[in-house]
Amino acid sequence: MFLFWLLSVFLAYTQVCAKLLHRELVSAPNNPIPVCINSSQADDDVISALVPIIRFNLNLSGLISVKTNDCTNQIKISGHQSLLGTRSVELQFLGTELSKLPTHKIPTPILNDKHIINQYANKITRTIHEYLTHHRGWHDRKIAFISTINIDGENQYKLMISHIDGSDSRELFSSRRPLINPIFSPDSQKIAITELGKKGTSIYVKEGKHDWEKISSESELGIASSWSPDSQHLLIVNYQIHNPSLLSYDSLSGTIKTLMPGWSLDCDPVWAKDNFIYLASSRSGSPHIYRYEINKKLLERITFQGDGNLSPSISKDRKTLAYIQRIKDEYGLVIHPFQNPTQPKKILSALFLQDPKISDDGSWILLTERQGRRNVIGLIDTEGQTHIHLIAEEGQFDYPTWVPET
């Protein structure tokens, strides 16, 4: 038993240390919920491996502060084994504020892989986080991003996918040319990426376990921007002509048709439900956010404030819009709730913010920020309370995006 315990702790430790990225809490609410974590079964190898990771994750969430003593709120974590031999971890919430919460059981997977321990700890963390704060958790979500590492004076660009804590990372695509804008289809079966070449751009698409397919020649100038809600069509900004137009690539037939003719500088289109496209356009002089209704061919301006508004990202329910606003020499991350469109709220300001991506449920935003001279991934909740940096151990990260939950 002792050997098992040692092995589990070692695996958990190496998992925490040997990651692609590390997380730094930048800001958090002033009054996090204080809790103590009790694990009565110190001899249980699973519990012993999980608790340190859960404690670390909860503290990092910003909304919860894990104490060692003097707690009125307690979470008891214990392992259980049924008569059939299946194991689970039971979460029991104790204390004046938490006792109304029901006991929660999470089935334990077979922990034969070091990645599984981390994923399981992240899942438990998310459950605790959502129970206590009533805010959606991100702890077991997956993200994709572009990693740039300079090797012998030459940049290597890689499309990476990993859990948000940096564990279980995989390389999906690599190039010596800059890669931008990885985008997943809503059913998570397809991914598109744009490579910047010397003469133009190349768009690559991967579906399921098939190989990458190049769907545009290098002499063309197009940027893969968004998938349609049914995951069949890829929205491409074609900027070969003077005024960029929006094209739709049908992944079944391979045909391309013009969805919206260009005017001035249209970019950053996002294909939302009910055939609406949200985009940035500088047709009024400086860029602002517009909404285009495909069926009626109607374009409506949404933003009016700031020196420029760019890079819209919209939640799946179309209730929350996030975008970057520029005022003088500063960028702001703005949340625009459609229930109250006259009250856009700036939740973050900095000299550099870029390409925000809101989660499907509208609770968290990933974006590119800058720390020193390198880019890092920012994670912030849409209330602007908890702000975390995901920092590369080596090189820099850009273009973070959510991998859809299936």
Binding site: N181, Y239, C267, Q354
Partner: protein
């Protein structure tokens, strides 16, 4: 003989004049600006007054932050605007090469105070 010397001197002066040309100009632009104003068009016209059948490389640049797409497309549109003006100076189209660099070659990444809003035009001898 004297004629020959004159011809040599003429060739030398012509070459010297060509080599003395400024090989690069940078045209500074305003925020969100892609079309050139009159003064910027004149700057290009002046630059090409002594054009000597060199290759022309135009690179548009933009600031970083906000949106990668916007910065990339804006930089390309800036290069296109320069291309249109250069064509008016009787430069053969097949000698002109354009590129939008976006904010990738920002001279001061992370600092909006050092702006990166410009078009760079480089002339290179055809043999290069």
């Amino acid at each position: 003989m004297i004629n020959f010397i004159f011809i040599l001197i003429h060739i030398f002066l012509s070459s010297a004049q060509a080599w003395a040309l400024p090989q690069t100009i940078k045209i500074q632009l305003e925020r969100h600006q892609s079309h050139l104003n009159m003064a910027q068009k004149e700057q290009i016209n002046d630059f090409f007054k002594t054009y000597h059948h060199q290759k022309v490389f135009i690179t548009g640049h933009s600031e970083d932050g906000g949106s990668t797409q916007y910065n990339l497309i804006l930089s390309y549109q800036r290069a296109q605007s320069a291309l249109e003006q250069i064509k008016l100076n009787h430069v053969p189209a097949d000698m002109i090469f354009i590129q939008g660099a976006g904010s990738n070659r920002n001279q001061a990444p992370g600092s909006l105070l050092m702006n990166n809003r410009y078009i760079e035009i480089n002339l290179m001898e055809e043999s290069l």
